[in-house]
């Protein structure tokens, strides 16, 4: 099997596990919804205020849910020592990383169809075809920016005590550029882009995605060696 085929194999394995544990996967989505509800309590989410806060809340909800989703993706690997078993097989660590990162990316992307309509309802957004397309693209970029460093760090923190503290502690600062670029881009789509800044923020988001996907993939194999 080539590294590419192995990558797809690992991704499929993770997605299959996610499907078998549907209730757990759904719980992550539920968690995301709950955070959105909490956010809408936090501000008087009516009219103007709601629209101006929506982009930030949506991306933060994604980030908070991602912590659960990422920890879940490595829970089985460590509980059953499955990762060690995988390493004994002739599987390229690069393939393991990109496989798991792709699976995590897909799971995060799937949160979009749940969280986005809910945000639109809670924060009275007016969606149409054009801005939905832009938001879908941005959602992909934001999910990708969280999935790559998230997979690397979740793999590390899944093997230490106190992972519930360490993973957010490490991942949140690392995703701040993603968060900022994502929030600004979403906001510009939702509330108008007077000075055409959207292209700049989206490019910045894409640049960070690329850096993280390349760098984390190159470093992942080192974190497996014991």
């Amino acid at each position: 099997m080539s590294t590419f085929q192995q990558t797809l194999f690992v991704a499929r394995k993770d997605l299959l596990l996610g499907w078998r544990a549907r209730t757990r996967t759904l719980a992550v989505a539920l968690f995301g919804m709950v955070t959105l509800v909490l956010f809408s309590f936090a501000v008087a989410a009516d009219g103007e205020v709601g629209v101006s806060a929506a982009a930030g809340f949506l991306i933060v909800a994604l980030l908070l849910s991602s912590i659960l989703s990422l920890e879940e993706s490595f829970r089985l690997e460590t509980e059953d020592r499955a990762l060690e078993g995988l390493l004994l097989l002739p599987v390229d660590p690069v393939a393991i990383f990109y496989g798991k990162a792709i699976a995590n990316f897909v799971l995060l992307v799937l949160l979009g169809p749940v969280l986005l309509p809910l945000t639109a309802i809670f924060f009275s957004l007016e969606l149409d075809g054009a801005n939905l397309l832009g938001m879908a693209l941005l959602w992909l970029l934001a999910a990708a920016g969280i999935a790559a460093p998230g997979t690397l760090y979740a793999s590390m923190t899944s093997r230490v005590t106190g992972r519930d503290v360490v993973l957010p502690l490490l991942l949140f600062p690392l995703t701040l550029p993603i968060l900022m670029a994502g929030v600004r881009s979403f906001d510009l789509i939702l509330r108008g882009d007077a000075m055409s800044q959207l292209k700049g923020w989206t490019l910045l988001l894409a640049a960070f995605d690329l850096v993280y996907w390349v760098l984390c993939g190159a470093l992942f194999s080192r974190t497996l060696e014991e």
Binding site: S2, A194, S196, Q197, L203, V214, L215, G217, A218, S221
Partner: protein, 159 residues
């Protein structure tokens, strides 16, 4: 097989070399790719006025020089009227804020607020932007308004 080769240092070095090259390329792209023209902390008066209808009502930051001769302080010192200019356009500003001590005519300022329909920019947050010139008091500031405007990074050619 992949696993047999993956443990070899040469392969690892190749992965690292590709990663470093890719990241260098991305950083260079960020540097010269013109993202900076779009990502701005504040708008110049020209940009604000040319934004048309979209400029009204939204909370934005406006940056420029305090136009000479435009500062009018209210009697109680709590309100302030002045104009922000980039050497081309002027926007009148009404600030309900106590300005920092450095506030004066000809200095760079960034104000956060919104442009109202009567063309006055209303703000409650007034920030002074200092340039990178550090000189003792004996050295007077002989720079023209145009030179000062350059320190606001408003020009299209700034990098």
């Amino acid at each position: 097989m992949a696993s047999a080769t993956s443990r070899l240092p040469s392969r690892r070095k190749a992965v690292f070399a590709i990663a470093i090259a890719a990241i260098a390329a991305i950083l260079i792209f960020l540097a010269v790719g013109g993202i900076g023209e779009n990502l701005v902390y504040y708008w110049s008066p020209s940009e604000l006025l040319s934004a048309g209808d979209q400029a009204y009502g939204a909370t934005v930051r406006l940056g420029g020089l305090v136009a000479p001769g435009s500062v009018v302080r209210s009697a109680d010192g709590l309100e302030l009227d002045f104009a922000v200019t980039d050497g081309v356009e002027r926007v009148p500003v009404h600030a309900r804020a106590v300005p920092p001590a450095m506030f004066r005519e000809g200095i760079g300022v960034v104000v956060e607020g919104r442009l109202s329909r009567n063309g006055v920019f209303e703000t409650k947050r007034l920030m002074v932007k200092h340039d990178n010139q550090y000189q003792p008091p004996s050295e007077g500031d002989e720079r023209s308004l145009e030179e000062l405007a350059k320190t606001m990074q408003l020009g299209a050619d700034d990098t």
